[in-house]
Amino acid sequence: MSIEGKVKNLLNKNAEIKSGGGEKAVAKQKAQGKLFARDRIDALLDKGSFEEIDLFVEHDCQEFGMEKKVLNSDGVITGFGRINGRRVCVFAQDFTVAGGSLGIMHARKITKMMDLAARMDAPLIGINDSGGARIQEGVNSLAGYGEIFFRNTRYSGVIPQISVIIGPCAGGAVYSPALTDFVFTVDGISKMFITGPEVIKTVLGEEITMEELGGARTHCTVTGNAHFIAKDEKECFEQIRKLHSFLPSSFNKKSIRKKPKEPLNSFDIEKVMPSDPKKPFDVKELIKSLVDSSDFLEVQEHFAPNVVVGFARLYGQSIGIVANQPAYMAGVLDVNSSDKAARFVRFCDAFDIPLLTLVDIPGYLPGVDQEYAGVIRHGAKLLYAYSEATVPKLTLILRKAYGGGYIAMCSRHLGADFVYAWPTAEIAVMGPEGAANIIFRAEISAAADPELARREKVNEYTEKFCNPYVAASMGHIDGVIDPAETRKKLVRALNFARNKKDELPKKKHSNIPL
């Protein structure tokens, strides 16, 4: 064969393999509102930037008639490319080929990308759309999954790892996304569960639809397994590109600094907050009036809404924000919000992203169900995460900071570098009502008019302790600031912290309560 012939042969093979499961299968995929795997990669990455790896890998299964089957790309497309000019590694499972099922060669294509990403300091993005293990390959498919999970773990904290669930992701397969940093879902398309509805019905007699059990909304609101939800695939890829813009490419690189931009609206505390500290306000409005371009990318918006976490820029620098949300459950900390905030704090610390904590917390949510659910060990995670974090830590106390909540929300004592408070801050061991009931109990019950005595004690306590000045007098906070100067103070503190040096004591690794 001539050289020209051989090249032509190659191009034909390329086209054949790139057709995936064939026209009919691709049409079926599209009919379900899902994109073809190759189109997904094109939608995610910068136009024309995708370099495919392992196009010619084939499955090696000789059982169950598999030796006669040709599975193009062995059901997964792998390679590298760019997002906003920055390098990333990507894999996309192809549902049109054997249901995107995972066999050992399919898995090894993925692990090759994982190793490449870690070696080349590039984030890894995995697009999951698979029926699960390829049963015909038996234990080899389990081996494949194991090799992936091992690398998800080993590379955790080395490079950002992002999972996209745009199709089924069932059984053991779910553990890969669970081990990654962020999970993206699409409403109506994502399905994620260990055991599906049919098995649950047969074995336990519980009836539930696939969507209710493991759909996008369930994972974004109930289980906390997912971090983002989009209305369609296009929006999902936009969200991924947006998240990526805040992150560095690896743990030893800094995130890109952009040009500083002012927030879109000016900040007016009287418009943002009610004067009655027992009335709610939306802390997201405050966040938007402080950050560059009022651009805040919230993470896990629908899970544990009583704490708000997400990314923004302050004077061009990427930061992670953690804030109590008084508008929801009075901004208390509980099991789910502690988990949500702690994981976010540890991610930011792993990737050198400074933290800004906004505090307005009345305490932890009381109740037997919280206690039985382990609010003690879950709550401990947040204290742990903040104490362990060596990134610059800025804290702003807006209103209430009572008791354990004061400590947990990145207080000076957990290593915050700069702690400011507004004049409306109330930094106290407990709220005035609680104080009256405990500290002054004897006095109140002995009084001629206990109700009047109680109100007097509440007022006395409020006067003396429900302010930031007692804490300021001990240096537990660095200053009480005029709310109108908030952004200026935060920007100066953040810029000053740029060269922070902080190291943990030498150890093999820590033992975070789980």
């Binding site: 027992k278 459950m329 005035p432 009502e433 609680g434 009931n437």
Partner: protein
Amino acid sequence: MTEKSILNVDYTQYETTLSPAFLNRKNYQAPDPTMVKAMIPSVVVDIFVKPGDKVKKDDKLLTMEAMKMKNDTFSPLDGKVESITVKKGDRVAKGQLLIRLKHA
């Protein structure tokens, strides 16, 4: 945000939105040993007592089948069987009442 409710934290009442989980919570009830309940969704395979029977602690009351395993349920106390609310072959939910006992 949806309409405002009150959440009491350490004796202080805060105006806020309550979560569905909080609104639907069941207040804790101390377990009542005279109510023998199913620990897991299961099927009643065998019942070894009838109303009026005297029972001693750890006497076998019923056998339930769940997750392909047979699970025996034993009496938590010395007493009498007051009533049985299931029959052989019934599929029961977790927490469903099976037998009511009376202390001796």
